[in-house]
Symmetry: D2
C-alpha cells in the first residue's frame, strides 16, 4: 500500500507549523522480535506524542509483527519520519504515516451496475467515509448522471478485445495524472491484465459475489439457485494477478430461501456487495488493513 | 423421505377412536396446475378439518407445486389416506401424512467430535426437538459416555478399508431393526459407499464446514487461515452419491478475523456446524423440508 | 391498509380485456374456521386461476386467519371482486386485491438526514422496489437536490409550534391530491398529531433506532454509548397514535464495540435504519404485511 | 476484576524456575497520558519479553487508558510484579497479571433451565474454554445429574424469603472455601441482595433475555409475542446492585417471525442466551474484559 503520506511535501497535512498537534496514523510491519513496541513508543514519547489508539498483532505463522497507532503530536512530519527511518535498519521496519481522516484519492471503475458507486458516493458525502472520489471510469455511459450528481468527473473508456491495452494505458495515465491512491472495482465487468494488476498491486480493491459452496463458470447465481443455497455472500479483496483470488479484506452474507428467484438473488447479492465493499474501502482508507503474505490484518 | 406415517398401523398415532381431534401434518408435491389447492382443501373441509398452518410454493423452473398443511381433524387416519389416494391419479400427487410432533426415529453416526451429538441430544431433551435418538453408531468409542448419559444405545462399529462393506451392512441392519427413519452424520469421518447413499436416499443428513470461497483438498481450515477468510460456515444437506453435494437444507456462518488461529477457526466452525445441523434436523423432523430436484423447499 | 385496487376503476390494471391473464395478489383475513381456504381456492379455481404463491396463518391467540395468494387469472377484476364480496358475509372476510408489482404511490417525509430517502430512491430505480415516489415533504431544504436528482417533486413545509396544524393540513391535502397510498417517515424529526396518525392509520411507516435495552429520553445514542451496548438496531413499524409504538414490521441490528464513539454509532445506526426501512417498505408494497391486532403477519 | 494472579503464591503458575518462558497476560488501566506504553513496553523489553498480542484503547470520554498485553518471558513472576508496582505511583496504574490459559475457578448458579450450564460444561471440556467449573449451586435439584455427568460438585441450596440471607451466606462461604474467582448466573431465577452483589462486584456474570424495545414487568416473552417483535436477544453483563443493569459484556440476537409462538420464542431465546453467555465467560476468563466506568472494553 502506497500512501501519499510518505512522500516529502512542504504543504502536506500535518505540517501545521505552530503547536497545534496533528492526529497521525502510523502503520508498521517487521519481523517479530522483542523491543519493537518499546522502540516505537519511545520515539513517540520522545516527541511528546499521545497514543489514542493502538493495535498490534504477531503472526506466529509468518513470524511477522504488525502495528497500527494513532497518536497526537505537535512535532513536524519531518521529525516523525526521520525517527521512523532510524528504526528501519535495526528492525527491518516498513511503515506508512498519514494524517487521520485525510481523504484518500480514489478512482472508481464501473460498468452498468450502479449500487456500489451510489453507496460509496453517498457514504463519502454523508458518513465521513474518508475518500475523495476523483474520477469514475466506465466502459459504459449509464453511470454518468450518477457521477455528475455527486460532482465526480466521469471518463468513458470503452473496451474491446482490440482496445484493451489502450484502455488500460488510459487508466494508468489517469491514475498518474490525478494522483490516484486507490482504485475501486465497483462491479467493473472487464478483466484487468496481469501487468495492470501488478502495476497497481495493493491499491486495487475488487468486490465479487461469493457462495458456499463456490460455483465455477458462468452464471453463478443460476447455479446457486439450482443448488438451493441458503446464503449468498460477497467478498472484497485486493486484486493480484489472479483477479478473484487476492487477499480478502471483508466478507458478508445474506440469508435467502427457495422463494428467491435468480433476479431476487441478484438484488440481494447487490446489497451484500455494496455493504462489504463500503467496509473494505473505509478500512483501507483509514489505514486499518495491512498485508501479511496472502492474508490481511484488519485492525478494526 | 419416508415417514412412519404412511404405513398402515392399527395403533398408529392419530387413530384415537373417539372424537378427540388429531393434529396432522400433510406434505404433498405434484406438477403445478389449477385446482390442486381446491381439491386438497376440499378433502380436508369434507372431513371437518381445520387448517392451522399452510404453505405452498410453485417452482416456475421445475413446474412443480409443493404444499405443507397442518390440520386438526377428528377423522381416522384411514379416511384421510383414502382421500389422498383418490387425488394421486388426477394430480400426480406424492404425499406424506404424519402426526404433528411425533418423534422421528433417528440414528446418529459420529467419530470423535462430540459437539453435534451433544447438541442434538440436549435439544431433544430440553427443547422439544421432535426426534427419538434410538442409537449412536461410531467407529470410535469416545462418544460412548455421552450417549450413555442421554440414555442412547451406543454401537461401536470400527471401520477399516477391509471391513467397510461389513460395517455398512451392520449399519443397514440397525436401520432396519430399529425402524430408523433418519440417519444424521454428526461429523462422521468415514465416506459412505454410493450403494449405502442410494439405499438411504432422502433419509441421511450430513453437516460439513463451508467457506467462501470453498477450499478443495486436505486441511480446509488451514487453507482458510492462509487465505485470511473473514467468515467460516457450515452446510447441512441430504446425502446423495456425491457426499458433500446433496440438496442443501441449511447454512450458517460466523465472523472471524486475523487473530483466529487454525484451532480457534475449528472451534468456531464447530459452533456453526451444530447450529446449522440442529435446524436442519428439526425442519426435517417437522416435515418442513421437501425435495425439488436438487434443491430443497423449506417451509419454515 | 387501503389499496388503490379495491376501488372501482374502469381502466385499472388488471382490466385488460382480452385473455392476457393478470397476475393478482389477494390478501384476506377473517375469524378462523373450517372451509375458508376451500371457499377461496374454489372461487379462484372457478375462474381458472392458477395459484403461484400462497401463505396462510392461523393465530391461535387472536382466533384470526390470514392468507395471501398470488394467482394468475384471465377473469376481469369485477368478477374476482364480486366473488370475494360473496364470501364477506359467510366468513366475515376482509380482503384486498391488487396487481402484482403495481407501484404503490408513496410520499416520503424527511428532515435533514438523507440516508433513508437515498436508499429508497435508489432501490426504486434499480432494484424493482414496487413504489412510485410521488413527493418528498420536508421541514428543511437539504433534501431538495437529492429529490430532484431522482425526479421526485419536493415540497418544503416548515413546521413550528404555531404552524403544526397548518403543516399537517398541507400534508393531508397532498396525500389526497396525489392519491398517496403510503407515507414513509424517513427520519422525519417532527411529531405527528394523534389526529393525523388516526387519519392515515395503517398507511404510515416509521423507522427509528432501537437498542437492547431501550433508552428513554433524549440523546439515546449517548446513553447507548455510556452503557457500552454491543448491538445497535432499528425498528420499522406502522404509526399509530403512540409514535414509536405501532405494530413492528421489521427489525435489524449491527454489531458495535467500545471503539465506536457516538458519531460512529450514529453512522452505523443509519445503515441499519435504511436496511430495515427498505425491507418494510418492500413488504408493505408487495402486500406481504397484514395487521393482526397489535402484531404484523409478514408473509415473506 | 480480581484475579488469582495478583496474589503472592510461591507455587503459582508462571514460577517455573529454569528458563522455560511463560506466556503472560497483563491488563492495565490508568489515566491517559503520554509515556504509558513506552514505560510498560520498556519494562517488558528489559525482561526480554516478547509481545505476542497487544491492544490499547484510550477513552476520550472518561480520560482513561486501557491495555492488554500477552508476552512471553522467562523472568519470574516476582520480577514482573515488582516492575509493575514501580509504575503504579507514576501513572496511577491498576493492573492484573496472569498466565495465558490458566483455568479460572468458576461457580455456576442455576435453577431449572439447563441450557447455559450444559453449554459451558461442554465447551470447557471440548473447546478449551479456560475455566474450571468447581461447583454448581442451585435452588432446585434438576441440574444435579448434568453436573454429575461433567464431574462438577453439586450443591442444593433452597431459597425462600425466610432463608435468603442464609442461602447467600452459604454461597459466600463456598466462594471463599473453593477459591472461586468467577460466579456465573446461568438463568438463576433468584434475586441477589445488594450486599452480595457488592461483595462480588466484577466477579459475577449474568445472562438475561433482551428485546427491542425492552419490556418491563412480568412475562416478557408474552409481551414480545403480543407486540410481534422480529428479533429476540440476550445480554451478558456484570452484576452490580441493579441486577439487570450492570456493564454489558456481550449481546446477540436471533431472527423470529409471526409463526413463533411464545414457547418457540423461549426456545430460540435460550439459544441466544447460551451463545452470548459462553462468549462473555470466555472473554472474561481470558482477561479480555476491562471495566471503564459503566462500560466494558472488550479486547477480542
Amino acid at each position: 500500500m502506497s500512501h501519499r503520506s510518505d512522500q516529502p511535501a512542504t504543504s502536506a497535512p500535518g505540517d501545521a507549523s505552530a503547536g497545534a498537534p496533528t492526529h497521525w496514523v502510523l502503520t508498521l510491519s517487521c519481523p517479530d522480535r522483542p523491543g519493537i513496541v518499546h522502540a516505537v513508543s519511545g520515539l513517540l514519547a520522545g516527541l511528546d506524542g499521545n497514543i489514542t489508539e493502538s493495535q498490534q498483532f504477531g503472526d506466529a505463522g509468518t513470524g511477522l509483527f504488525f502495528m497500527r497507532v494513532q497518536v497526537t503530536a505537535a512535532a513536524p512530519r519531518a521529525e516523525l519520519e526521520s525517527g521512523l527511518r532510524a528504526l528501519e535498519g535495526e528492525f527491518g521496519l516498513a511503515w506508512t504515516l498519514d494524517v487521520v481522516g485525510r481523504p484518500v484519492r480514489t478512482l472508481v471503475m464501473g460498468s452498468t451496475a450502479a449500487h456500489c458507486l451510489n453507496d460509496l458516493a453517498f457514504r463519502q458525502r454523508s458518513e465521513a467515509l474518508p475518500v475523495e472520489l476523483v474520477a469514475v471510469v466506465s466502459n459504459h455511459t449509464v453511470l454518468e448522471p450518477l457521477a455528475q450528481f455527486y460532482g465526480i468527473d466521469f471518463h468513458h473508456v470503452p473496451v474491446t478485445a482490440a482496445t484493451r491495452a489502450e484502455a488500460e494505458a488510459r487508466l494508468l495515465a489517469l491514475v498518474e495524472e490525478l494522483d490516484v491512491e486507490l482504485v475501486v472495482l465497483a462491479r467493473y465487468m472487464q478483466i484487468l491484465s496481469d501487468d495492470l494488476c501488478r502495476a497497481l498491486a495493493g491499491r486495487v480493491i475488487n468486490i465479487h459475489h461469493s457462495f458456499l459452496p463456490s460455483f465455477k463458470g458462468a452464471k453463478p447465481y443460476h447455479q446457486a439457485h439450482d443448488r438451493g443455497v441458503k446464503l449468498i455472500g460477497a467478498t472484497a479483496h485486493y486484486v493480484t494477478g489472479d483477479l478473484d483470488e487476492g487477499p480478502i479484506i471483508e466478507q458478508d452474507v445474506e440469508r435467502v430461501d427457495h422463494t428467491h428467484g435468480v433476479e431476487a438473488l441478484v438484488a440481494l447479492g447487490q446489497d451484500v456487495e455494496r455493504r462489504a465493499l463500503a467496509r473494505a474501502v473505509r478500512w483501507h482508507a483509514e489505514h486499518r488493513v495491512l498485508l501479511d503474505g496472502h492474508r490481511t490484518i484488519v485492525f478494526r
